[in-house]
Symmetry: C2
Subunit: 222 residues, 2 copies
Amino acid sequence: MYTSSEENYLKAILKLSQKEDGPVSTGALAAEMQTTAPSVTDMLRRLSEKQLATYEKYYGVQLTAEGVRVATALVRRHRLWEVFLTQKLGFAWDAVHDMAEQLEHVQHPELVERLDAFLGYPRFDPHGDPIPDAKGQWPQRQRQLLSATAVGSPVVVVGVDDHSAAFLQYLDRTGIGLGAHLTILERIEYDHSLNVRLLEQNRDLTLSDKVAHSLFVEPARE
Amino acid sequence: MYTSSEENYLKAILKLSQKEDGPVSTGALAAEMQTTAPSVTDMLRRLSEKQLATYEKYYGVQLTAEGVRVATALVRRHRLWEVFLTQKLGFAWDAVHDMAEQLEHVQHPELVERLDAFLGYPRFDPHGDPIPDAKGQWPQRQRQLLSATAVGSPVVVVGVDDHSAAFLQYLDRTGIGLGAHLTILERIEYDHSLNVRLLEQNRDLTLSDKVAHSLFVEPARE
DNA sequence: ACCGTTTTTTAGGCAAGCCTAAAAAACAAA
DNA sequence: TTTGTTTTTTAGGCTTGCCTAAAAAACGGT
């Protein structure tokens, strides 16, 4: 139906418009897609012609309802494949992105749904990102950055905001994975670093401000 | 490394050169790829430049060792994905080809090997076609067409030579799948149709010459 | 060996998706 | 509001992979 390149642009536009509302700029898209501004302008024309987005010169781009539908389906496929790769094939969570990036473009009406069923209808991917359902609805979860969490309140790690292999491997080495229970013991005013207790390992450690800004948590429930 | 289009040509050349030896002609390739002769000539030049094939004008094309390696790896990926789709996702054997056609182009050094392990190292795909191993070795099996089988000798169905949905669905309706035990009761001289006994269902049926030419069997063992 | 037919290649063109360099518009700031 | 800077678009060009029409080579039969 649509080319891989078109699909990638749609996904990027969805991502950027979820970050902040209003139209997405050519420059932001070029950065996100690792390409040049003229290439973006080219593609925006095409997407506009195909009614996937509304594009106004010197203003920016927004997805149409159909554009949102296609982009959401892509995110769904991407994240389901990531679950498959980690849970069924045993890949590490820092290794699955590139494969999922290719697998998400495989076109077939039934494939996603069967895969979803095979995986047990997961609602979040290996990085804690929400997986939209077949109707395009996103699961909601009250999550916040660890950096915005109060000292003393116990939380569970439910996601990462930085998907880089470097950060994920740092977490692996440190023993912090999804589901880890943390409590902030102290916030250092000087550099905003945190002393936290990691319940699973019954030990304390220091997390930099940067790390605290890359971890999503939600209140721990008994 | 290589484009999907290049890979598809390599696979087609491998397929045609396995059917009969000597070089593959432009016309045969055009028919196999459902494209035109000039497009084939174009691509053969490119493959030749990349050392994947040796191409001589007005003579034909042959794969180099590297071309064989790439094409074999593709067949491996294609057939492993077909096993995945039928065994894990429950797709019918007449539905998996198009999906596997896309999945086979997903590039990743470890993916195939992990998939192979996950599937339990299958040696044949859902249609009974051999799956080359990681080193490019093909499993051997002494198989023959049902049409070439003697009256009276019990055989097992181990493959199909016609992969069309129409034929596969005919087999489903008739109750003949891989592993079915057949014995030819009588060969009708007039039209070469066969009266056979289907052991699983304990019933007799008539198979046309065309069907008998599309079924691979091997001698049944106790 | 010649001639008509078939096959293959050449020539030229098109769309997608990218690029660089240059022009134009928008923005910001004095 | 005018000017300098940043952002975006336009212009033109490239490769890949496809196409049709025309030319050239190979084939087959007498």
